[in-house]
């Protein structure tokens, strides 16, 4: 009984898939993937670019302001000392 059990188990264990079969399976799965349509792709790309540009604008503005502020502040302290 115990033997048949182990036998069944090792039989159940799948053999390692070879690289060729694996590549075929990968391609097969990729075929089933739902790729974005042209319209979707366009919308998402534009939205992402706009978002990134807004963030870049905001961060550079903040950077510029703080940079100037710190330079000014330390310059002031330097003069006073």
């Amino acid at each position: 009984m115990a033997q048949t059990d182990t036998g069944a188990k090792s039989g159940e264990r799948k053999r390692r898939t070879g690289p060729v079969t694996f590549t075929k399976q990968v391609v097969a799965e990729l075929r089933k993937v739902r790729w974005p349509t042209q319209r979707e792709l366009f919308t998402y790309t534009v939205v992402v670019i706009v978002f990134v540009l807004i963030m870049i604008g905001y961060v550079s503005l903040v950077n510029f302001g703080f940079g100037e502020g710190v330079t000014w502040l330390y310059g002031l302290v330097g003069q006073a000392a």
Partner: protein
């Protein structure tokens, strides 16, 4: 479509979240310009410019990019979010290895918060190490490739205060890292998007305009135009893959509960081709940052064999094949690893079974889990390769000469920018849709 950006600010709840996030990001940037105590900020500014002018291929350029320029300023937030990220990778890895941590993770909420606590302690330890290394490099002038004299920006050197001030700087930078860690958690909790990713996103885009300006001023206009076009093409490519899904159909059986009829609907499990997102790239680049840290701690001037080895093979500017290969392998490895820890096929299959769901032509329970695993492995393979290729493509294409790291459209930055951008926009979108507004993405 772009009106959605305006509408996002008209929704009170969402507006609060957005403003809160922007507020945190602003303080984050403020900390990146305030120099640590004892540092002469005017002198260090000059020094950074001098280093840039001599064009010395700075090993720390990559690190500097990841700290949003704060590192070379020796700012309070010089270390950025990196120690936190490194700590969370290490704990993620350890969860698989150490049984005690695995048990904690399975415990659920309570265990998870314990792991978070460990992550925080580790972050502090890493921050101490890293700030010590940065200070050691700054003290010898090596941080700026010996382009200027350390005494200029660290006026306290060779005085009796030297040691106490150095210790204080380490304390301040470590404290800064803790604050950043807290910011990350605050954004995740009360703001929009994932805090850790948004902070690293901010660090990267903070250096972006300067990079573009450099390209504009150093090259003819057509190069600039070419770079912009290449950037848009890359962004489109990344969006294309990020949006690609394999939809596994799931049927729910009809069942009677009392007098009501439930289920009978069909949905799908969305499996992205790149299920892991940008995390593997962030993980891989922050791990590859460790060799530089070691070099800093040991001091690059010694003829230590370890330093020599690391400098030849793992110099981020060197584009050595060994470095590139390691980077690629790390990304691929982390992609599989991250998918494995975030998506558990057995759990999903179990849940489906509980609610009477099944994948047509596949039995519920273990066969379903095996099927999900099968599909996931076959999707993650191309997904991981894609991440690796995109991250390395600019580095390989631009070759040596260190132009790659200065290239603002570096693969890693593009992946992080687009990945985090998409995630955040989608989150804002779902907030908008809850209120029946049209989102960005019609």
């Amino acid at each position: 479509m772009l009106g959605a950006f305006v509408r996002a600010f008209r929704t009170p709840e969402l507006r609060n979240k957005l403003l809160f996030t922007l507020f945190i990001l602003t303080i984050f940037r403020l900390g990146a310009v305030i120099p640590a105590p004892g540092i002469d900020s005017v002198a260090i500014e000059k020094c950074v410019q001098q280093t840039a002018e001599t064009g010395a291929s700075n090993i720390y350029a990559l690190i500097n990019l990841f700290s949003g320029g704060a590192l070379l300023q020796l700012a309070v937030f010089a270390l950025g979010i990196m120690p936190y990220i490194t700590a969370s990778i290490i704990l993620n890895l350890l969860t698989v290895v150490v049984p005690r941590l695995e048990a904690l993770k399975k415990e659920g909420q309570a265990g998870q918060s314990k792991i978070t606590q460990y992550t925080r302690y580790l972050t502090i330890a890493l921050a101490v190490l890293q700030s010590t290394s940065v200070i050691a490099m700054a003290r010898t002038g090596q941080l700026f490739q010996n382009a200027c004299i350390p005494e200029e920006y660290m006026p306290f050197l060779h005085t009796s205060y030297e040691l106490p001030v150095l210790i204080m700087i380490v304390f301040v930078m470590t404290a800064g890292t803790c604050v950043i860690m807290w910011f990350g958690e605050l954004i995740t909790e009360r703001g929009v998007g994932n805090g850790m990713s948004l902070l690293i996103f901010t660090q990267i885009i903070a250096e972006f305009p300067a990079g573009m300006m450099r390209i504009w001023s150093e090259n003819p206009a057509w190069v600039f135009a070419l770079v912009c076009v290449a950037g848009v093409v890359l962004i489109t490519g990344v969006v294309f893959i990020e949006q690609a899904q394999r939809r596994i159909p799931v049927q729910y059986a009809k069942r009677m509960v009392g007098r009501r009829m439930y289920g009978g609907s069909s949905t799908y499990i969305p499996l992205k081709v790149n299920q892991a997102g940008v995390i593997p790239v962030i993980f891989a680049s922050s791990l590859l940052y460790l060799p530089t840290l070691v070099v800093g701690l040991l001091g690059a001037e010694t003829d230590n064999k370890v330093v020599d080895f690391l400098n030849t093979y793992f110099n981020p500017m060197g584009n050595h094949p060994v470095y590139l290969t390691t980077f690629f392998l790390l990304i691929v490895g982390f992609a599989f690893f991250y998918v494995a820890i975030t998506f558990n096929p057995a759990e999903v299959a179990d849940n489906m079974k509980k609610y009477g769901g099944f994948i047509p032509s596949i039995r519920p329970g273990r066969p379903t889990a095996e099927y999900l695993d099968y599909v996931l492995t076959r999707l993650t393979t191309p997904g991981a390769l894609y991440l690796g290729v995109i991250a390395l493509l600019p580095m390989v294409a631009l070759g040596t000469s260190g132009a790659a790291a200065n290239f603002p459209f570096g693969g890693v930055s593009i992946l992080i920018m687009v990945g985090v951008g998409l995630d955040t926009v989608k989150q804002i979108e779902s907030h908008l849709q809850q209120r029946n507004y049209e989102g960005f993405l019609r």
